[in-house]
């Protein structure tokens, strides 16, 4: 594999020493608070909490302000949270909104420029340079993913293939023929591509010219990273963002792959206890809360991401001084509670990956029989875990069940299913079916 670039896109802002950074953050925070003071929702929230923007003198004072939640965005649907007149808005995006109304966000011209720069930062950190050909397999539309990566790659000067989602065989043809060197999609789709290339009779390690993949849009484990890197023979990097806060471009990994650098000159990160809302000391695991201190159109104050992670303030070898966040370890709201045990799907994924030859195509089915919850882990059978002898096949199932019990502290039934029995969307894999509700 060729050497990837270790360049830093914006050294001025990515390598600031902490005292300079904090000075810049405070200045930007106060400017932002002055602007949101005109948004009725914030006026009301601050008044209810008995605080005024004039009470904020230091970064620590941020904790005095109330949180903003997805519910606030829904209540103010569609444009109620905007801090600028529509005349200044040049773009609308929104969340996928599978439940109820979607959440709507806007961008001014400057916001779009800033966004491009943020994405260029993490794409550069992943080794993408002007010579690269970037294949974007996120769906183009209301969702922020495709456009964000598109702008960032163009700003770097890479050649962008705006492929969009769907039609896997055509994706593979274009990846191959156009010589893409960087792939942008969800991690589960990267595996779908590898599967399909294999089924077409080719070796996914050598068939394409890919060097690096930038994967996002869903949480994924270190095991899945190893699997993708091995099967496609690429460096797989993670990045983080959510449509309410700019989209992709909040944080991204450098080639050291030891956490995603949060672009702190744009976003103030806090870690809170999701139950009590209390701010936790550095290094503690909890829910990530972000304050957008640069955005014009819809700057959110202390927005609860519901993503569980941990922040690391020690400096990274890459030279960036920005804080690093761990891969998200699930969400504070869709964390599964089964028989009173907290279970994150990624824990189960890790167990499956420890088994030789076990692919990550799995699904969790949770049901309630009477008053008891049951967890079934459905695993797709492939040639590596299929035995002609029933004795060995059953022993395999039993050993998986034993490992799961040890790792998640809960008995889960393992059910083997045929390949492709688990529905794969061309984008996100739906790994959880919870039938307890209703």
């Amino acid at each position: 594999m060729s050497q990837l670039s270790h360049k830093i896109w914006d050294p001025l802002h990515e390598c600031l020493n902490r005292s300079d950074l904090e000075r810049l953050q405070l200045e930007r925070l106060r400017t932002t608070l002055d602007r949101v003071a005109n948004v009725p929702c914030y006026q009301e929230k601050f008044q209810q909490a008995g605080v005024s923007v004039n009470d904020i003198h230091t970064l620590d004072d941020l904790a005095k302000l109330p949180f903003t939640t997805k519910e606030d965005l829904r209540l103010n649907y569609p444009y109620g949270m905007f801090a600028v007149p529509m005349r200044d808005v040049v773009r609308i995006h929104s969340s996928s909104g599978t439940t109820g109304k979607p959440t709507v966000v806007g961008y001014t011209r400057k916001d779009l420029d800033d966004w491009s720069g943020l994405v260029a930062r993490f794409m550069t950190a992943a080794g993408v340079v002007a010579d690269d050909i970037v294949h974007i397999a996120f769906g183009y539309g209301l969702f922020t993913g495709a456009f964000g990566l598109h702008y960032g790659a163009e700003l770097i000067g890479s050649a962008v293939i705006p492929m969009s989602g769907g039609n896997t065989e055509r994706q593979i043809m274009i990846l191959k023929d156009y010589g893409a060197t960087a792939l942008v999609c969800t991690p589960s789709y990267a595996l779908t591509l590898a599967d399909r290339i294999e089924r077409m009779g080719h070796d996914p390690r050598t068939y394409l010219s890919l060097k690096v993949g930038l994967f996002g849009g869903e949480p994924w484990s270190e095991g899945l990273r190893r699997e993708i890197e091995e099967r496609l023979n690429i460096i797989a990097t993670d990045n983080y963002g959510l449509s309410e806060i700019v989209g992709p471009g909040v944080a991204g990994e450098c080639l050291c792959k030891n956490g995603m650098h949060i672009f702190e000159d744009h976003f103030l990160p806090e870690i809170i206890n999701p139950e009590t809302g209390e701010v936790l000391p550095p290094g503690e695991k909890g829910e990530l809360v972000l304050t957008n201190i640069v955005q014009e159109a819809i700057p959110l104050i202390r927005y609860r991401t519901r993503d569980i992670t941990r922040l690391h303030y020690d400096q990274c070898e890459c030279g960036r001084t920005l804080v690093r966040m761990d891969k998200t370890m699930g969400r504070s709201d869709d964390m599964l509670i089964i028989k009173g045990v907290n279970v994150f799907p990624t824990q189960i994924e890790e167990v499956l990956f420890q088994v030789e030859g076990c692919e990550p195509h799995y699904q969790l089915v949770i049901e309630r029989e009477g008053t008891l919850d049951t967890l079934e882990v459905q695993v797709e059978v492939n040639e590596n875990i299929f035995f002609d002898e029933m004795r060995k096949q059953r022993a395999f199932v039993e050993s998986l069940e034993k490992r799961l019990a040890t790792n998640i502290g809960l008995h889960a039934k393992v059910k083997l299913v045929e390949p492709s029995a688990i529905t794969r969307h061309e984008g996100k894999a739906n790994r959880i079916i919870d039938r307890r509700k209703g």
């Binding site: 089924r199 059978v381 492939n382 040639e383 299929f386 035995f387 002609d388 002898e389 029933m390 004795r391 096949q393 059953r394 059910k415 083997l416 299913v417 045929e418 390949p419 492709s420 029995a421």
Partner: protein, 143 residues
């Protein structure tokens, strides 16, 4: 002396066996012998067909998980005590049988027993020493 057999993972739900048969039939593959081992969740279908490699490829392309194994076909006179004598031989030699299944040959009227052994080569040696008739693969594929 060995016979090629394919094993297919199938979920225990309606229509899956029919799907295997349909896929093979459509491509002109003929099934010579079959057996099914099952649990409440899944089954392992074992087939001996007239063209093992073609059948394996077709089933894989249709999305099934398939593996190829080697089994031994033994001819047994179709009369009382036929099976018992063979199992006696294997037991005496401490040859471990993973599984077995049987069918009756159309023309000769003899029974054919398909054995899957832990140690296939050792088992063949034992059977040959005792003068038990082992049917070659080509004989079974062409039945």
């Amino acid at each position: 002396m060995k016979v090629q057999q394919i094993s297919i993972f199938i979920e225990n739900k309606s229509g899956r066996l029919a799907e295997v048969a349909r896929v093979l039939g459509e491509k002109g593959v003929n099934i010579r012998a079959l057996s099914l081992a099952d649990t409440s969740d899944f089954g392992i279908l074992r087939l001996i067909v007239d063209n093992t490699d073609v059948a394996k490829d077709i089933l894989k392309a249709s999305g099934f998980t398939v593996s190829k194994t080697e089994v031994v076909a033994v001819e047994v006179p179709d009369q009382p005590g036929g099976l018992s004598s063979i199992l006696g031989v294997l037991d005496e030699a401490k040859v471990n049988v993973e599984y077995m299944y049987a069918f009756v040959e159309r023309n000769a009227g003899n029974a054919v027993i398909i054995f899957r052994f832990d140690e296939t080569d050792d088992a063949i040696k034992v059977l040959q020493q005792k003068g038990i008739s082992i049917l070659p693969g080509d004989h079974i594929y062409g039945l």
